[in-house]
């Protein structure tokens, strides 16, 4: 799965949590979940659960704490997918 596919999957998940359509349309690695997408911080845990389900990965607490923007989130997903592939 390449970066673009991950980003598209992530955008699908996030669309439910944001009302900032413009920021969502222009989502990039620089997009911040709270500052740009105005996502309620309480929902960040729900986004992680959705990511786990969609990408069939498990995300540990330490990785979860980093997932505040698109760049870090994509990296965590890539890492976890690579771990799965290595098993």
């Amino acid at each position: 799965m390449d970066k673009q596919e991950i980003l598209t999957g992530l955008r699908d998940i996030i669309s439910l949590y944001t009302e900032e359509q413009d920021a969502l349309d222009h989502i990039s690695e620089q997009t911040d979940f709270i500052a740009d997408l105005k996502i309620n911080s309480a929902n960040l845990v729900d986004i992680v659960l959705d990511i786990e389900e969609k990408f069939n990965i498990n995300i540990d607490n330490e990785s979860m704490a980093k997932m505040l923007n698109v760049k870090a989130t994509v990296e965590v997903i890539e890492d976890k997918l690579a771990e799965n592939a290595g098993k």
């Binding site: 439910l16 949590y17 309480a42 929902n43 845990v45 729900d46 659960l49």
Partner: protein
């Protein structure tokens, strides 16, 4: 002391026999039942397999909750409360607060007995299955008792006092009384008062096990809830929510609002589980005192009461309640006010009963009718010996009247009584 007069300017309801005020009014005027067979209760081996539950389509729910909220929504009480509450607000012609500043003059007392019991069950099962992480963020807000008032105040942007009260089956009447006192004393201009109660086996099960629900009418749901009937054999459980916008008369007049009626007094007390009162049975002296104190608070005489909307759940306690009213009012068999019970149509909606019944009370006062008592064509002889049969209308009465007393009584030996009056200018 300069006290505000308090009027009712908005109504909302989510009842087993109507989920809009219009539908509900039509149903109560015509005696239409909202009690239906519940296959799930039958499957689970309940003694009582009939119940009252509001019927809501997903499209209707989507008008009140965002797609994100809907996705994890498993708290029927919050759904009913939000629908009734928001409808009441709109009915009063009030706006939702703007994005950046709440409405400091408006608050809410929205009661419940328990919250999100289905959500709680789901969460408990997840935890026991070692899946605590999968709970996500929606469990706390749907299972905290104040979840319903929190959802409502967030949608409306209420900036005054927002709280959830709980007083068993007196909850809804208590919330209206608390809102009345809050406005009367000048602490808010508007309060959304109401209460809600979840549906389903996990809320009704405890009552079924106590054998306080009827098991004799599973094949005839619509005639199963029988307040004041000789064949009353326990209540039929119900669910839903009722909501009333209470407002200072000054505020209502200033914005030229429609006024449904006025609240002129009330009282709430407890029998302390003394003198015949227990966890589950009322102390007669406390019930009578609650009624007489409400009358005193309203500065009226017992004889001024035209209509009573009773608690009357369809248990053996119905005659005892009538006896208490009669003693408290000090009236004879023939000069007893008209009395009715909504529970014949919708069952006993537990913590929502008081607020749904207050909505029905205000509709009667404003639209000038007395709704019929259903399922008591075989009047309990003990009741018939206390008051004249024509005091218990079995057909809708067209009647303009002035004062209605509404009371609710609950487990824990708690009582609440409210006095509603037709609004007259000046």
């Amino acid at each position: 002391m300069n006290e505000n007069r308090v009027v009712i300017t908005g109504l909302g309801v989510c009842a087993p026999n109507g989920t809009t005020v219009g539908e509900f009014q039509l149903a109560i005027e015509q005696g239409i039942s909202g009690i239906r067979r519940q296959p799930e209760l039958e499957r689970l081996g309940f003694s009582c397999q009939i119940a009252g539950q509001p019927e809501l389509s997903p499209e209707r729910i989507a008008q009140y909750f965002s797609p994100l909220e809907v996705r994890n929504l498993d708290s029927s009480g919050i759904v009913y409360g939000v629908i009734a509450g928001l409808d009441a607000w709109k009915d009063a012609g009030l706006e939702f607060a703007s994005a950046n500043e709440p409405d400091w003059d408006s608050g809410s007392f929205f009661g419940t007995g328990t919250s999100g019991i289905d959500k709680f069950r789901w969460a408990i099962n997840k935890i026991d299955a070692m899946e605590i992480r999968k709970l996500g963020s929606s469990v706390v807000v749907q299972t905290m008792a104040s979840g319903v008032s929190a959802f409502i105040s967030g949608k409306l942007g209420l900036g005054n006092r927002v709280s959830t009260n709980s007083a068993a089956c007196a909850t809804g009447t208590e919330s209206v009384l608390m809102a009345y006192e809050h406005i009367k004393s000048g602490k808010a201009k508007r309060m959304l008062a109401g209460s809600t109660s979840d549906s389903g086996p996990y809320i009704w099960g405890g009552f079924d096990a106590m054998k306080v629900c009827t098991f004799k009418h599973n094949d005839a749901p619509e005639t199963g809830s029988r307040p004041m009937s000789a064949r009353a054999s326990g209540f039929v459980p119900g669910s839903g929510a009722g909501a009333l916008v209470l407002e200072s008369l000054d505020s209502a007049l200033a914005r030229n609002a429609r006024i449904y009626g006025e609240i002129i007094g009330g009282h709430i007390n407890s029998g302390g589980q003394r003198g015949g009162g227990t966890m589950t049975a009322p102390n007669a002296a406390a019930v009578q005192r609650c009624i007489t104190e409400a009358i005193k608070d309203a500065h009226i005489k017992p004889g001024d009461i035209d209509v009573i909307n009773g608690h009357l759940t369809a248990t053996s306690k119905d005659a005892f309640e009538i006896e208490n009213w009669k003693s408290a009012l000090g009236c004879s068999k023939d000069d007893f006010p008209f009395i009715n019970s909504l529970k014949g149509m919708i069952g006993h909606c537990i913590s929502a009963s008081g607020s749904i019944e207050c909505v029905a009370a205000v509709l009667q006062l404003h639209r000038e009718f007395v709704f019929p008592n259903v399922n008591c064509e075989d009047l309990n002889p003990e009741i018939a010996s206390l008051i004249a049969e024509d005091r218990i209308p079995q057909k809708r009465l067209k009647k303009s009247f002035n004062i209605l007393a509404k009371a609710s009584f609950g487990f824990g030996d708690v009582n609440a009584c409210l006095i509603f009056k037709k609004y007259q200018n000046g």
